[in-house]
Subunit: 102 residues, 2 copies
């Protein structure tokens, strides 16, 4: 049975391909596929953002090889950046709690 | 309810802290904690490796700021690299299957 870390890695791969395989190159997300992935899988993250250009900006930021599509390697950059941001927030909260407890 | 992508990101954070909080700096993995994490959570990956120096090498590779500990940002580099490698393998298998089907 896979560990929870292995399952999490597997989830990242499965989710990417669930959206990338919808149309065009099945191993890359076009803008529509990326938008759908963000809306469906990162709903809470998108809900806090008011910028109507956000998906375009994320696409531009991630698409490091400028082919107007996002491959898996480019996609994990987004997931990593978001996870690091969440962890920074978590550690800050823990540190505040620790100080209060002393 | 969180999406499966959000749950996966949450899992990465929880697993890191489950091991980092065992001793010393609770926000960093020392070598013993890293070894335990790798043995418990990446069993299959470690099982294929015969190098007895592997944990030392991984520690050295990840510890980009040379403090002999691995913080969360350094840890996600490992997870990302492994996930990208798994995805490359998956895509290669899919492509081979696709060619055979034609």
């Amino acid at each position: 049975m896979p560990s929870s870390l292995e399952s999490a890695m597997d989830t990242l791969i499965r989710i990417f391909h669930r959206y990338s395989s919808r149309e065009g190159d099945e191993y890359k997300l076009n803008k529509g596929e990326l938008k759908l992935l963000l809306q469906s899988e990162l709903t809470d993250f998108l809900a806090c953002q008011k910028d109507p250009q956000l998906v375009d900006k994320i696409m531009k930021d991630l698409d490091s090889n400028k082919d107007n599509e996002v491959d898996f390697n480019e996609f994990v950059v987004l997931v990593t950046a978001l996870t690091v941001a969440c962890n920074d927030f978590f550690e800050e909260q823990q540190r505040k709690k620790g100080k209060k407890g002393k």
